[in-house]
Amino acid sequence: MTELHLALLAGAPRHGYDIKHEHDAWFPDSRPLAFGQVYATLARLQRDGLAQVVETRTDGGPERTVYALTEEGERRLRAWLAEPAAAAGSGADEIVRKTIAALHTGIDVRGFVSRQRASHLRRMRELQRNPPGAGAAEQLVREHVIAHLDADLRWLELATELLPSSGQQQPLRTATERNNP
């Protein structure tokens, strides 16, 4: 979840409440993010030098701390997106998180999709090569994984068709840009 918080911060400096809402908007059907988890993660990001406090607002209401990515944090985010999600097949929420984060932040979407496809296809290719002597049951397990990898790829295709340029709606502002507006 650390990198996902980095992605949520990549668009603009935000406070914890914004981050929660942004997350819930990105993943409308997932379990809503708990406030406690947001603040705990932000504290950890600050401790590791991945995020920094840029201002503290009090608009008549409660005090709110606004966080932004550090250059280190952005590097970390880019490194995360540069690596395709593991071609695990089932239960792989990681591919969903990465794709959505890539499409929202607009960080090298085409490259990300390409690497993810290649990674999945390579795994499918391996699985399609049945080792000699493999039993029917073993083969069926492989087929199950292949079918899920195929489903992942179809979803990825759909995602890139439906959200081709969302990166432009919310351009990533790097720390340097923020410091020199």
């Binding site: 496809r117 999945h120 292949i146 195929d150």
Partner: protein, 224 residues
């Protein structure tokens, strides 16, 4: 020498630009998947590589011959000697029994009908099409026609097999078997295979994936 080499190829049907400045090189023994959404130019690319269509710009070199300098007869000869083509449909000659359809490239090449038919019967057996040899294409199901087309593509022992959605009308298991046969029997003899498909399982059979979108290459990655 590459089996087929397209460089900077563009093609349009009337006002529809099907391919824009596409380059693709297929090495001997290599299996390449050309993927992409419908209407991205995959099939056009295949027909250009086969010399069925002529590139409007750019260069296509097929088994060492620059197609720009080859007339229709020369392109046809290269095709029947060195290229096997499997399309989605509309490829078997109506009114010609399945056996003769499969033997066709050999017959056109001048082989004696008896030999040609014997070879054709062997390939029909290998692709697993079990119908009487006098069956007409109109009496076959879509999947059976596809198997017959695959047998015909392989009957000459081609240097290059071009397959457009070869498994589209087959069930998963039969499709997998056919794909295996197309790939293994071609590459074992040093031939190359270009698989055009939007099916990821077909793409996963390739050594390399070339992905097209709106007539241009968007990515090209090695899978092996």
């Amino acid at each position: 020498m590459s089996t087929v080499e397209l460089s900077g190829v563009s093609h349009a049907y009337g006002r529809t630009q099907a391919l824009r400045d596409v380059s693709l090189t297929v090495a001997p023994g290599e299996v390449v998947a050309v993927t992409g959404p419908s209407g991205c130019g995959k099939s056009t690319l295949l027909l250009l590589a086969a010399g069925v269509l002529r590139a409007q710009s750019g260069r296509v070199v097929l088994t060492g011959t620059d197609l720009a300098g080859a007339d229709e007869a020369a392109r046809a000869r290269i095709r029947r000697r060195s290229v096997g083509i499997v399309l989605q449909f509309g490829q078997l000659v109506p009114d010609l029994p399945v056996l003769d359809n499969v033997a066709l490239p050999l017959l056109l090449e001048g082989h004696a009908p008896r030999e040609a038919r014997a070879a054709a019967a062997g390939w029909l057996d290998r692709v697993g099409l079990d119908v009487p040899p006098t069956t007409l294409p109109s009496e076959l199901s879509g999947g059976q026609a596809q198997l017959a087309a695959a047998a015909r593509a392989l009957v000459t022992g081609p240097l290059l097999v071009l397959a457009d959605e070869p498994t589209a009308s087959l069930d998963t298991a039969t499709g997998r078997q056919l794909l295996d046969l197309l790939v293994t029997s071609t590459t074992a003899a040093g031939g190359s295979v270009v698989l055009v498909s939007h099916d990821n399982a077909v793409a996963a059979r390739a050594d390399r994936e070339v992905r097209l979108r709106a007539g241009s290459v968007v990515h090209e990655v090695a899978l092996s």
